[in-house]
Symmetry: D3
């Protein structure tokens, strides 16, 4: 049984052998070559990203969203500094001087965690979401520390006009993020304001976003600084590793202790994690995405 | 010994008699007729408003400022309602809709108490004061629930432009309030926004303020609703009476129990309250204001 | 397609014509004349009040409850003022003087929003509800700022005895509100205390409630001031309009962009809003209430 | 140089010798025998309890007051339990059931620390003090979690009537505590309610208080449980030792490093701690209290 | 109809008679003798502990968990005192001295209520749970006042090493609590630290726990003080009675007003409470546990 | 009259001319060449850094300390990221994973502002100060969100051992900062932890600190990342400019409107700002520091 964090590298495919258990992030839907290698070598592959918990959530993905949301605040604050290309605004202001304006588009896990941090830094925060229930929960938790707005085009445009920092936090699981801010909309924004697009792994929710890396994280379009690092949690690897392994460990130990087949039989959530088994694709979404046959194996 | 709340009415002056102790609000500096009556009748008059406490504060005036500050918020909220002439804005908004903007000019006791209430009602609150220390204390107590700004003409004008409600809370003890918002400035304000001028007892800090009464509390100038009731605490008479008597009682009981002269000798704070004694004016500020002789009687 | 806020007036019925889309509040269950006019003219009528969201809530009704709850606090505070007939109590008291006592009966959306505001005004707040889970959530959000009590007759009577302000917030969707406080119970209450009955649209939860209007909002029974304005959100029309249209707009745009029939087919929530279509009643509750035939049209 | 925590025991007096530095709590004003021994033996005695800091406070006494205040809450909660003689009331109640009522008389350091803890335990808290400024600070810090009242006989009697727990926290430095609750007043209180008298070291502020020890901490008078342990901080000796030595250490190190005489010359605060020097009493209050001669030695 | 709090005593079984309604806590699954008596005498027995509410929760058990959780904090604080065998640590420390460390294992109702109280007492709090959603909710409610950790053996052992107080709050309804801290693990803990095992009614979640009573609540194993009182809510009987009867009363009144059979027919939640009827066992879990026949009577 | 932000550059000295008013930061005590130029040219020089306010504070320095304190948190968070050389720790952790540990040495204006931000980012925060009063104020404002410790060598060493981030905030106005953490102490710290030394303008409070610039802000000593940028507020120039000019403007306008001499006569605070006048040094500290004659000119 091999336990990893990231998907295997192509040069590692040759080490695959039949019956081997591979337990890691796989992201096969967008990686036909790897999928075919796993199928051909009859690896038993369990992917972190499709394991579920008893509420149907994805326990190995959620902590990464929490980390990315919290990091979004600290990156936004940093790249607003003048020497990093920003407007030279301190998010919390100081007594006697206005707070910076932060707009968060999307009130899910990423948005909630970003919101806690920018509120903590003392900013003037506006959050937009389409779900009235979710906005009411923000009102319960944050009171008047946050302004909540229904997410629609008018409200988004009005909000970004005043913003020093805009955090894109609209994530639709398993789908491309909608483009909510277009290239021309950036002209409404203040010069040297900052965008952090946390949805970049799913294509981003700003039209002008493209993925960057930690060693050159930002670029400028229409005078707006863009921070679009694809693997944000990598910046805080110690915290990320603990968050990930705390969740993957319990399922991994079950597999190791009981044997894979028993674990699959006992626990529907691990079964949801199984992607490849004895040369067959056992995850419906992956099969569909790759246009290959799906096998509904029962244990 | 006569204990009252408000100053004696002219028709009561005839009942004054020599040696009588009068213990009430007097406000003699602006009331020569009453002062002369008290002097002529040789009343021993102790005024609530000049009694001090061990910190040099005015314990019989402070609670009235606290009440007026708190009321300012509830009056402002009410007169913003459409049927009362206001813009039809709910200060706290609701989830999905913007909060109302409140601007408080002056961060003393009135401002602090008004601030607590408008923050409590969920408004977006800006407070202006000239003292950096005081603004830092607001930041300690309210965190990001309040925006603090240095009070200067630029900041005031920018603030009132966005305001739904402006509360005037600039009080300089014993002096006329400065006129910080002029008639022409009102043109910058939103139509049907509301002003509450808590400084009205000292002339008001809006040029367009003039005192009103509880039975017709508001009027409109340049499309801005003005609430300028002179005796605001009268609206909550039960609370005001408790607040006042809790403070006046302890000094009053001392006077009654010990006799006035012993009380004056024992307690400098009561001595500060003495305004007229045996036909002489014993309060320096009152004497100066009325242009009469001051007697520094010691007990 | 006609978009309105309130239901059409009788004099407008003549303008109805076949195939026209009418999108507004209708409240047909209690308005046979209008229902018959819409059926006869074969109007396609979508009612705000029966549109649902993905959680089964009523997104075009909720914000009105939030507004009414928040307003209840500010009306209660205002009508407790002496010149408005109340006891002359300031809800938050001041340092050294007791806070006013507020009792909220019902902990749903109206109760939660009223609660936030009276807590914000510094009152001593008691909330009664029958659901233990809901009371525990209040304890999570408000901590010791609120006393929670199981709603039963003993607790209600004990609570109103001490109250300065009682807010009735018991709403059972689509049913008459239960009468939880009877006329005789008012004798237990303090003289000149205040009742705000937010349930008045559904008959009120005080036996002595009857609907009033913004121009004469209160009346007195058994020495208790009653505020029972039927259309409370109208007082803050600007906020109410934004709250309403933010929610109605998205469904309205769908209807306009896709055509009504496609919108009805695509979105079950809009289908739930359809009340009249091609001369047939398509809402079960309305049909039942009016004793007419229900047509379960599918799109 | 001898460093202790408590004053020397009589059997230790024989070990005193001339020129020795003694650095500990002494409390000589009430201990003539010890004072005479120190004078006779020409000990150089520096007492923790009269050392000052740059604000004129007593840094070696304050932490003991903070600890006693915090403990008062936890003792009160405990002795309200039925098996310990109390009413069987949980201070914070639970959702649906009323919170317990706690009354704190005195808003100084003891009162503030007791208040934080009973608020933390979810009680319904009332604090009484005579200083309006202090009550306003409580309002700033605790908001509506605490009711503040002016301390006078009427308010005290009304408050204790409703109380489950009354904490006596009235301490006048260097004087006997005033008796604010008399024996007969206890009849107003609820059966099996609890009193914690933190002022017991200065005689207590309840007429019925007398000092107890940790091994038998409570007794009952008029159906009211009294907790009057004289050395409360001893119950949490680990915390108390750290709190005490953190403060005494810095002065002690100065004395050890520089020599006593230089330390006395350099630092007025240590000079204030000197009680006996070369056979003379060097603290004015101690001298006065014992009726012996005071020597104003300068260094 | 007989209404009690605790189950009938054996000496009361003789008073049972056919057709009698018994409404109280029964806990028959572990009490065969009582069950047989009720069956033989054909009592109609409704048990508090199996009544449900509309969310499927157990409304007559929840308040007891809330009370036990809150008490756990106050017992832990008390038995940490030196004279009671503890380390002599004050949970909240004082300014300048470290706070005590509290570890709560289990974040359900007991854990949440214990957490509120130890946070309120100013401790440094760590809570462990296996559900990521639940930990996120703690983060929403408590922010940085609480450290949340995934519950696994590594984290538990690391946490208890630093702890002054460990609260066991792991309750699996209807099952024995898992033993999460073993006897040997106690050697990792600090000398004279304290354990409060709220799960003791279900066997406890510490291997070394055994039930104690209020008159001798603690014992020591491996230098760790154990508080394992089985009926914790009995310590605050006044609060517990109100909490219990507020919930049992509404169902009891229904039974009394409508007659048992109608109440059973109208309300599925009361039906869930029925354990014995006309000589038959009508609760599936009880029947299974006692190995007797289950009768699914419908009303 | 010339108004600048920073002191004049040497190449600008030639433009000085007699009678000119120079109003800017000067820092003459450490800049003999500039002082001599100003004296020789008989410039009238008012320095921001010695202007006082009515409380004796330095209103043109305080906002820069507030900004630096707030920035310290965001720099510390950023340089803890792995790609920037740090440990890869997210200060707030995420639910289920420990928070980062932040230690702030010094609880003045810098420390308070840093503290607000790191608390806001969700860190586990410890603050050390020598003043018990100040620590108690932190306890009032932050409650259990912050651990307060007396600042002494033992506590500092224990604290930095556990720290991910240490913020040096010990500033003694007009003196070199004390070296509280020595080079060897760094060996106690975790690998790749981060130091931010806000006291760098006064030499720093870490032995290993030396000033850096925004374009290369960090360096590593003993595996600890050092951030020691000398002009931190320059990073947020927009906020800093507003904070500075809001304070300098009011004095500057007075000088411009009244003429310098009248302004000096009217306002003692401006007089305190005067450093050079008609060829004489008019600030005592500057004169002493440069060893030149001081002239106590009165206006």
């Amino acid at each position: 049984m091999i336990v990893k964090v990231k998907e295997p590298l192509p040069e590692e495919y040759d080490f695959f052998k039949e019956g081997q258990i591979l337990y890691t992030y796989l992201h096969l839907a967008a990686d036909r070559v790897q999928a075919e290698a796993l199928l051909a070598k009859k690896v038993k592959a369990v992917a972190y990203e499709t394991i579920t918990d008893s509420n149907g959530h994805l326990p190995c993905l959620t902590p990464m969203s929490e980390i990315a949301g919290r990091l979004a605040a600290q990156e936004g604050a940093k790249y607003l500094e003048k020497p990093f290309g920003g407007r030279g605004v301190l998010l919390g202001g100081v007594p006697g001087v206005k707070r910076g304006n932060v707009v968060i588009i999307g009130g899910g896990i990423v948005g909630m965690n970003a919101c806690k941090m920018v509120v903590g830094l003392g900013a003037n925060v506006t959050i937009l979401d389409i779900a009235a229930d979710r906005l009411a929960y923000y009102d319960d938790i944050f009171g008047s520390q946050v302004t909540t707005l229904y997410s629609n085009r008018t409200n988004i445009l009005n909000a970004i006009k005043e913003a020093d920092l805009v955090i894109g936090a609209v994530l639709i699981p398993g789908a491309a993020a909608p483009k909510l801010v277009l290239k021309d909309d950036l002209k409404l924004m203040k010069k040297a304001s900052v965008i952090v697009d946390v949805a970049i792994d799913q294509g981003g929710c700003f039209e002008t976003s493209h993925a960057t890396y930690h060693d050159d994280p930002t670029y400028v379009v229409n005078d707006v600084v863009h921070y679009c690092v694809a693997n944000m949690p990598g910046a805080v690897s110690l915290t990320s590793t603990l968050a990930l392994t705390s969740n993957t460990l319990r399922y991994g130990l079950d597999i190791a202790n009981k044997g894979l087949e028993t674990a699959l039989k006992d626990d529907k959530n691990i079964r949801n994690g199984l992607n490849v088994y004895e040369g067959k694709c056992t995850n419906q979404a992956v099969a569909k995405s790759l246009g290959i046959e799906y096998s509904d194996i029962e244990f």
